[in-house]
């Protein structure tokens, strides 16, 4: 049984009637990682927000989304709200803006834990410290008492992962989690995502334009362009034998740059392939 | 959340409206023995020996030795008096049953102290010639005082009857025996006591239960500050205020049509005094660089003003056309003077003959490169003055005179009158008690009309005549002198009369006993009563 099944998802702008995501269907198995790949404007973010019904009110969507055989569309906003966070956990691109700038980090964390697990502050704090330490954040208590602007993007990204860890969701939706980060933080964040998946056996939907990241972690790939799904399949086969011209093109450009690099580094043990 | 906010909003709105609805309705004044009158300005400093205060308020609280009535000078705080043969000694016999509001007894000592306090601040009272003439004041016995003058001064009693400064304040209120630097309280002998004063809001006067001439029937009078005319009208309509009258400065802020409507609605009555003063434009003959210094120009202006229309349309008939500085019911004013009726052609002709030529229709006349332009100042608190000014501006344009209008506060206008910094300004005579002697005396006073009259040919001679008029004891001679003086100013067209004004009272319909005094500044509230 698929964990999540999406049939003919369509998203359009209510005012301009422009269709942003054309009939899109895919399934996500328990514990798997699905990557949605595409260049800017391909509608990949809108697609994954549509899953949790998080798009703006001016965007309409139809099509069927089944989560553990439950139709999400027929749920009330209140029921849906319960699913968010508990079942679907999101990780946003820019950690710097993802937390209320006028509150300490812990406010959001505790509010979320209180909402879903009804934990009181003490327990939340204890659990968060655990979770944060497991994503390599030291001085967790101190960090929680800071404001977003006092922390780096990589740290905030890892806090979001830690929160997901504490909530133990079924699906983590990671929207470009590495794009805004430095090379070193990128690597760390990817490491944590991989770890979380192993430890908790939760499924991941990863939205990214970075084929390197995708190839690294995803089991399946969905290639999108201008709101349409061009190709889907399991990662190795898509990368080895891309069916669509566009996929081929994407892979080729990416490999041109990195081949050059890899060739340079062949003689070294610095880079792991 | 949103629903909650909405309900919250509507609840708040509802509370606001409810608060409005449940607010206690203002007391109905119609059937009480209280009067609430509207005043444009605060009653101000009530010190009777200084000038900033409201005269109508001072008139309620303080009294003078004698009273000026239609029939002449009558006793007030002085029961009787004698004048010495040579006319320089006045002996007053005081009433014995008078107390000040603070319980202090009114006697010769109090009179002497008050007179001395006034005389010690003499320079401020220069406008009232008597202040210059007083030599001494003595206590003869407890209820007799003797006033000695340096020389004969015929308006002595008239000036003693004025609302200020020769009125009496309880000596307990004096500061170091003086009043010029402020006083400790405002205790007079009058029919009403000042009991509460909130600056720029209201002042409350209550009936003096110990008043020597009987307790006034109106128990409480409140002066409420309402700067804008239409607010007054509204307040009257609602009953927040139930009385209004032409105020101190003669500013008629209330719209006549509005009053008429109010009266027609049935709750109010309108009472007008007989002609009290003359409203006029004063031309500054002494300002040589101004065209107003030229007699022909002044005369042309006189001819160009359609006083009939002003009286009919702007005053809606409430004021009558005036043809001379004083109306003939004023003492000594019954002299035959040349009439100058509305005559545009005549005005043009006069100007043309005087050398003010016009190049085309709609342009301004010129003489020797100088344009025929003048500034007219009016009281910004008086809509009728503004309307008249605009009307006159239009008429003068027709004869080729350009008039610039400036609205200012009355104090500022008085200031201009005193410094001579004007071409033309609105003014009015001071009322029957003051006319003609005070007005004529004012021709020589810098504070008043000195600048205006300076341009009269042989002005020194003219001023001497005025001095003589006031000091002569020969009644016939005085009459002749007055005639001469009035003729001169009339011929010179310095005071361009417009209408004869009166005091207007709007009062509740059931208020009786509304009468007037000889001055436009006070009302005898003590004589009023509700039916």
């Amino acid at each position: 049984m698929a964990l999540l099944e999406v049939n003919n998802l369509r998203v359009w702008d209510a005012h301009t009637k422009r269709v942003i995501v054309h009939n899109t269907s895919f399934t996500l198995e328990e514990g798997k990682c699905l990557a949605i790949v595409g260049e800017s404007g391909s509608g990949k973010s809108v697609t994954c927000r549509a899953l949790a019904q998080l798009n703006k009110k001016s965007l309409c969507q139809d099509g069927e989304i089944h989560f553990r055989n439950e139709r999400l569309q027929i749920l009330s906003e209140k029921q849906m709200r319960k699913k968010r966070g508990k079942n679907f956990c999101m990780i946003l691109q820019n950690g710097m803006t993802a937390f209320d700038p006028s509150c300490k980090i812990k406010v959001h964390l505790f509010e979320t834990l209180k909402t879903h697990l009804n934990w009181e502050k003490k327990r939340s704090e204890r659990k968060m410290i655990q979770a944060m330490e497991s994503v390599n954040l030291k001085n967790a208590k101190e960090i929680m008492n800071k404001y977003p602007h006092q922390l780096s993007g990589g740290m905030l990204q890892r806090i979001m992962i830690a929160l997901a860890l504490a909530l133990e969701p079924d699906i983590i939706i990671a929207d470009e989690p590495t794009t805004a980060l430095d090379t070193i933080s990128q690597c760390e964040v990817m490491e944590q995502l991989r770890k979380i998946r192993l430890n908790m056996n939760c499924a991941i939907i990863l939205v990214s334009h970075d084929l390197g990241v995708v190839r690294n972690i995803a089991d399946e790939v969905l290639v999108m362009k201008e709101g349409k799904v061009l190709e889907k399949g399991d990662t190795p086969s898509v990368f080895a034998n891309p069916a669509h011209d566009y996929t081929k093109y994407l892979i080729k450009t990416r490999s041109t740059i990195s081949d050059n690099f890899i060739k340079l580094m062949e003689r070294s043990n610095l880079v792991k392939s | 959340m949103f629903i909650k906010l909405k309900t919250m909003f509507f609840m708040l709105a509802a509370i606001t409206i409810l608060a409005g609805c449940t607010s206690t309705k203002v007391e109905d004044n119609k059937n009480t023995d209280e009067l609430v009158y509207a005043t444009v300005k605060d009653i101000n400093d009530m010190n009777p020996h200084l000038y900033p205060g409201s005269m109508s308020a001072q008139g309620m609280v303080y009294e003078s030795l004698v009273e000026n009535t239609e029939e002449g000078i009558k006793p007030l705080l002085a029961e009787s008096w004698e004048i010495s043969e040579d006319g320089t000694e006045y002996t007053f016999h005081l009433r014995k049953d008078v107390t000040f509001h603070d319980g202090e007894h009114f006697n010769a000592k109090a009179v002497k102290q008050n007179f001395e306090a006034v005389q010690n601040n003499k320079e401020k009272h220069a406008w009232i010639k008597l202040s210059d003439k007083i030599k001494s004041i003595e206590e003869v016995d407890e209820y007799t005082v003797k006033l000695t003058l340096f020389e004969v001064y015929y308006p002595t009693l008239v000036e003693l009857s004025m609302t200020r400064p020769y009125v009496f304040l309880s000596p307990n209120d004096f500061k170091n025996g003086e009043t010029k630097d402020g006083v400790n309280g405002f205790h007079g002998t009058g029919p009403f006591k000042l009991t509460e004063h909130k600056v720029d809001q209201y002042a409350v006067f209550e009936a003096n239960e110990d008043y020597w001439a009987g307790v006034p029937k109106i128990k409480k009078i409140t002066a409420k500050v309402l700067p804008a005319g239409e607010t007054t009208l509204l307040a009257m309509q609602k009953g927040e205020v139930n009385f209004a009258f032409t105020d101190d400065r003669g500013a008629d802020s209330i719209n006549i049509e509005g009053i008429n409507q109010l009266v027609q609605a049935g709750d109010y009555q309108l009472t007008r005094s007989k002609q009290m003063n003359t409203k006029m434009i004063v031309a500054n003959s002494g300002k040589s660089e101004s065209p107003a210094s030229e007699k022909n120009v002044r005369e042309a202006i006189w001819y160009a003003i359609d006083r009939e229309t002003i009286s009919r349309d702007i005053f809606e008939g409430a004021e009558t056309v005036a043809n001379s500085l004083f109306s003939i019911n004023v003492n000594y004013a019954d002299v035959s003077l040349k009439e100058r009726n509305y005559d545009i052609a005549r005005a043009k002709e006069i100007l043309e003959n005087a050398g003010w030529t016009i190049s085309s229709q709609d342009s301004v006349r010129e003489k020797g490169g100088k344009k025929l332009e003048m500034k007219l100042y009016y009281d910004s608190n008086s809509p009728s003055q503004k309307a008249q000014a605009e009307f006159i501006q239009g008429s003068l344009k027709e004869v080729g005179i350009n008039l610039e209008l400036n609205g200012e506060e009355s104090t500022s206008i008085a200031n201009r009158r005193a410094t001579g910094d004007y071409d033309l300004l609105f003014n009015q005579t001071w009322g029957l008690a003051y006319d003609p002697q005070s007005t004529v005396a004012a021709f020589t006073s810098e504070a008043s009309y000195l600048h205006a009259t300076k341009g009269i040919p042989d002005a020194e001679q003219f001023y001497k005549k005025i001095e003589e008029t006031l000091t002569t004891i020969d009644e016939e001679k005085r009459k002749l002198l007055y005639e001469d003086i009035l003729k001169t100013v009339h011929d010179e067209a310095i005071f361009i009369p417009i209408t004869n004004g009166n005091v207007t009272v709007v009062a509740p319909k059931n208020l009786k006993g509304i009468s007037f005094k000889q001055t436009q500044y006070e009302l005898p509230f003590e004589k009023m009563y509700f039916e």
Binding site: D13, A14, H15, T16, I20, S40, G41, S45, V46, K56, S58, L59 | A228, G229, E230, L233, L234, Q237, N255, E257, G258, Q261, T309, D313, I314, S380, P383, K386, A387, A389, E390, F391, Q393, G394, S395, K397, E404, L405, N406, G407, E408
Partner: protein
């Protein structure tokens, strides 16, 4: 260009702009289009009701209200507009000097602005009228004196913002002169900011000046001005409330026009506000 294009797309904005231009033109050409002499006194027609001859009726001196409203545009809109332009010009120059050259000049100008901005406009206007006397010109003088600081500060901020734009950095890199950078790269953009601020402060100035005229501190009789016309009408507002309608509507509609224009300019200039919904990728 983009500005105009966007503005044209915004119906409300272009309508207000056209309306205001029309009003101003009517003010300029008042002598041609006004049916009567606004100063012609005609006492028999005192407070006459509207008629074909006098479409909006007559006032307390029988003057034609319509003509006075038309001539009133000059004092109520055109002169204020002129004062606004003068203060905008002073403010622009000062703001540019401060924002572009920074340093000590900036500090001095900004401190002066701080001091000027510590006085509410009403208060200074009242003080200046108190000193120089009543008159529209004194009020306008006070406004110019006070408002430039406000514009200077806004323009400085926007200069500081635009100076950080990459194309300005580029222009500096290739060695363009300060003059051409200001004229070609910064002024056109700040100009649009100025337009927004100026049009909204225009409406507040109209309201404030009409308020002062209403208090009798403004224009001198017999010249027509809407605030004064309202003040004249107020005296008879309970017997002839209809006299308040014409000047009241005139003020309200012009002020609304400027408000709408300011809003539309803001939208036209800010692409983020333009789209009804922005898709965040």
């Amino acid at each position: 260009m983009r500005l105009i294009r966007n503005l044209v797309r915004d119906k409300l904005g272009i309508t207000s702009l056209l309306f205001l231009v029309l009003v101003m033109l009517m003010g300029v050409f008042a002598p041609i289009i006004a049916p009567h002499d606004p100063l012609a006194i005609n006492m028999p027609l005192r407070y006459a009701s509207p008629s074909w001859e006098h479409l909006l009726g007559n006032d307390h001196l029988g003057r034609d209200v319509l003509s006075r409203i038309l001539y009133g545009i000059r004092a109520s809109v055109l002169w204020i507009f002129l004062a606004l332009i003068i203060s905008v010009c002073i403010g622009t120059v000062m703001g540019f000097i401060a924002g572009y050259y920074r340093g000590i000049v900036d500090s001095i100008i900004m401190r002066i602005c701080d001091v000027m901005l510590s006085f509410p406009v009403y208060v200074i206007t009242i003080a200046i009228v108190g000193i120089l006397g009543v008159g529209l010109e004194n009020i306008l003088f006070a406004f110019v004196l006070m408002k430039w600081a406000w514009f200077a500060r806004i323009i400085r901020t926007s200069v500081l913002q635009y100076i950080e734009m990459e194309y300005v950095k580029y222009a500096r890199t290739i060695g363009l002169s300060h003059r051409s950078i200001i004229l070609r790269h910064i002024l056109p953009l700040t100009f649009s900011d100025i337009a927004v601020v100026a049009s909204s402060s225009m409406s507040s100035m109209i309201l404030q000046i009409s308020g002062l005229s209403f208090l009798g501190l403004g224009i001198k009789a017999p010249n027509a001005e809407w605030g004064m016309m309202l003040s004249e009408a107020r005296e008879v507002m309970f017997t002839r409330p209809e006299l308040m309608i014409a000047p009241g509507v005139a003020i309200i509609s012009v002020v609304i026009g400027f408000n709408f224009l300011s809003d539309s300019l803001q939208v036209a200039l800010n692409p983020e506000l333009r789209q009804p919904s922005k898709i965040i990728e």
